[in-house]
Amino acid sequence: MKEFQKGKMVPMPSTALIPERDLGKIPVLECIHVGIEFGGLKAVEDFNFTIGKTEIAGLIGPNGAGKTTVFNLLTRVYTPTHGTIMIDGQDTKGKTTVQLSKMGVARTFQNIRLFSDMTVEDNVRVGLHNRMKYTTASGILRLPSYWKKEKESHERAMELLSIFDMQDMAGLKAGNLPYGAQRRLEIVRALATEPKLLLLDEPAAGMNPNETGELMENIVKIRDEFQIAVLLIEHDMKLVMGICEGICVLNFGKIIAKGTAEEIQSNPEVIKAYLGNNSMEG
């Protein structure tokens, strides 16, 4: 863990969009005044956020702040009512969830959504859906392209599973895995889609400190090996402060602070949002 911290932590000025250092190139994610209203209720408002190509960013905030709504906007589960979301320089206006996946946005879910009746390997292979293609007809007739692609996708799935040392579980039913392994499998499945931006919704929820430590190392490892950006929602501050190079704090749908771990920790707005006014005085 400590090895990573030395090289990877990049300090940033609090006023800058995240990250400062990538602003010259095309950022992988660019949210410009993004907002969504549900019948008058502004769930997310004026959300401005930028993530560089190989950034690990964190999205934190109290319960109900709109963090998961941001993920749903980024993956077009919800259509934003205001603003623009650019992925790798491309506007996502009018795109569907499936098209967003093809553009390179992959996610995990807060309440795990695996294909629980399928095997671990098949879960990953569904993730490879748009990367190892052959027609339905050649699948039914078992033409050479079927055998070739199936072999490739098997090998690729095993390779991806090996990130978390899960090759031995390949034949097990995903629903029968222990909780931590299910969370890891969701990440592997997301990685199978070859994303440019990986969205992790509370990846450490329900994990013990050892598992969380491992997860932190793995997230950094994934970023380094795949050269992708990671945006994560997490309540475990050790994880967020430990690996996130830029942090964005959300409260009641609005960004109240952006910056590095140290800046966020000392920001009075953030402390107020987390602890409330009364507890500050008391």
């Binding site: 969830t97 996946s101 992959a106 629980s116 569904v126 993730g127 699948g139 390949a170």
Partner: protein
Amino acid sequence: MKKGLKINKTATKDYITYLVVIAAFIIITFMNRGGMLNKRMQGLLVPVCCYIVMAISLNLTVGIMGELSLGHAGFMSLGAFTGVVVSQSLITAIPNDVIRLVISLAAGAVVAAVGGFLIGLPVLRLRGDYLAIVTLAFGEIIMDVINCLIVGHDSEGLHVIFNFRGDKTVADLNLAEGGSAIIKGAQGAVGTKTIATFTAGFIIIMITLFVVLNFVRSRSGRAVLAIRDNRIAAESVGVDVMKHKMIAFVISTTLAGMAGALYGLNFNMISADKFNFNTSILVLVFVVLGGLGNILGSIIAATVLYILPEVLRGLQDYRMLIYAVVLIVVMITTNNPKVRGLFLKIIPKRNKTEGGEAQ
């Protein structure tokens, strides 16, 4: 290592399904040759094959795709009457029964595929039980439409009247000398030359198995399973939900059309009322009792439940009672965890050494 085991396991399961069907075919063929089957049983052979295909294909929609279809008999009906019309109108052009049968089955399959596509186009976009409602209506509509059809064939080609007022008869077709009516409205198809054979039935079962099993083990099949398990997650990894549901549904209706064509060509008269709501439910019962997603289960359930009422015919009035009791017992023992637990408690105690094997 474990991976290798797993692949073998699913592949073995498929091979067992194929083997069971092939073995059953060989045994029944020999029994038939040896004169061990009575007339009534012989008459059941082709319909059983058709219903097995129906059950497997419906299992693709209900068990594997996870959408309820209540109008599977409607697609069978489309296939049946298409098959009959094609076969009867080609009777002079292609005297060879086998070739005509193949063409008729293909035509039945194609028409049912088009029907499935048109039904799926609006309905599969929606979430919820709309497919059940629309297919239910489709089955009834198709029945009424065919009841209004008068179709005849002569040297000039096909003559079709859509008799929606009910005042037309076969005479209105103005058939030329030597022409004959194929479908006579509510009477259905009459005077069909029966060209369906048990071998043909066996072959369409094998085709169905080949298509369905290979589909499930392919990229598209995995996508369909993923959609059933978790639609939101499937979309998030880039699976086009509509497209893959459509592929599965069209395959399902195509196979039903093929089964229907064979069924239609097995009887020299058949009316559209045969393919009513009850038939759809009968096939659904085969699928549910055989186990959702379990292909071999569908085959066994279709065979047993289709033949059972015929075998029990000697018991006269009691046969439907026994049939009902068998249905209920199977349903309860396979689906109710409490009762299943109770059965397992009673049964393995008798032979505790084998207890481990009984789940």
